[in-house]
């Protein structure tokens, strides 16, 4: 399982919408998905094949058409990877903000601006 493939699989907006629909409907077929999306059934089938290849969905054969379900564990794995990187930067940026604002307040007080919150020209 290559993560690059996982990421390009969920990087496509149509495929993300499909995952959403499969989650909210508890599964679906290419036909049922195509009723909710502005793309052809053939295009949906191709997208499902991509999702299936990276393990984000699994298919069972029920009746005439294959029924797809989201693999929650694999989805969680994909989400977690992005969230970890994003959360790391969120906390770094909060520290940058705190640090810069502390320095600015110090500079304001040194200049004796009085208000303490008057920003520097800029």
């Amino acid at each position: 399982m290559v993560d690059d493939d996982l990421w390009s699989a969920v990087g496509d907006p149509t495929r993300r919408r499909m995952v959403d629909l499969l989650l909210s409907h508890g599964g679906g077929t290419a036909t049922s998905l195509s009723e909710h999306l502005p793309v052809t059934r053939q295009a949906i089938a191709k997208h499902l094949a991509v999702l299936d290849r990276v393990g984000l969905v699994h298919a069972t054969t029920a009746g005439r058409e294959r029924q797809f379900h989201v693999d929650q564990a694999q989805l969680a794995r994909a989400v977690a990877q992005l969230a970890d990187v994003g959360a790391a930067w969120d906390s770094r940026l909060r520290r940058i903000k705190r640090l810069a604002e502390t320095i600015q307040r110090g500079a304001d007080e040194k200049r004796g601006t009085g208000t303490g919150s008057t920003p520097a020209p800029g």
């Binding site: 990421w7 989400v79 969120d90 906390s91 940058i96 320095i103």
Partner: protein, 153 residues
């Protein structure tokens, strides 16, 4: 959103000159990110940043300044192999753009290179660089995981 790029923006009540200094100088970098930082902050400056105790198990990562235009722009690449110059495909590119706004600074940050390098590596780098957890592994969160998450901080 584009999964190959991470985007954030945050408003800071400090002048762009101060924010630029905070995001670009090794002394300040140590206060908001790595435990150690050794690099020349000008364009083309190379060096390294370290995570952990320098006397024991410090993990060093390569760091190369791509561009530095005070007080508007600072960009760097990191995590490339020590023996290679930092280029697309062997490193992550972080770009800070600063803009005077509402008496302070609007700081925009992007990090790209994930698609080229694979997310496992990005995750490993993030884990080494921070001890942050707590996100719900849940799709609705992902969908609303907007570029402006940092803005409310």
């Amino acid at each position: 959103m584009e999964y190959g790029t991470l985007e954030r923006e945050i408003h800071i009540d400090a002048a762009p000159e101060i924010v630029f200094d905070v995001v670009s100088s090794p002394e300040h970098l140590r206060e908001w990110w790595p435990d150690e930082a050794e690099f020349r902050p000008g364009a083309g400056g190379t060096g390294r940043i370290g995570f952990g105790d320098v006397t024991r198990d410090c993990r060093w990562m390569q760091f190369a300044v791509v561009d530095a235009v005070p007080p508007r722009h600072f960009s760097f690449r990191w995590t490339h192999p020590e023996t290679e110059p930092a280029v697309e495909g062997n490193s992550f590119l972080v770009v800070f753009e600063l803009e005077a706004a509402r008496g302070g600074t609007l700081l925009r940050m992007t990090e790209r290179g994930f698609r080229e390098r694979g997310w496992d590596e990005a995750k490993v780098a993030a884990e080494y660089a921070d001890h942050v957890t707590g996100w719900d592994f849940y799709l609705p969160r992902l969908v609303t995981y907007a570029p402006k998450v940092g803005a409310g901080a």
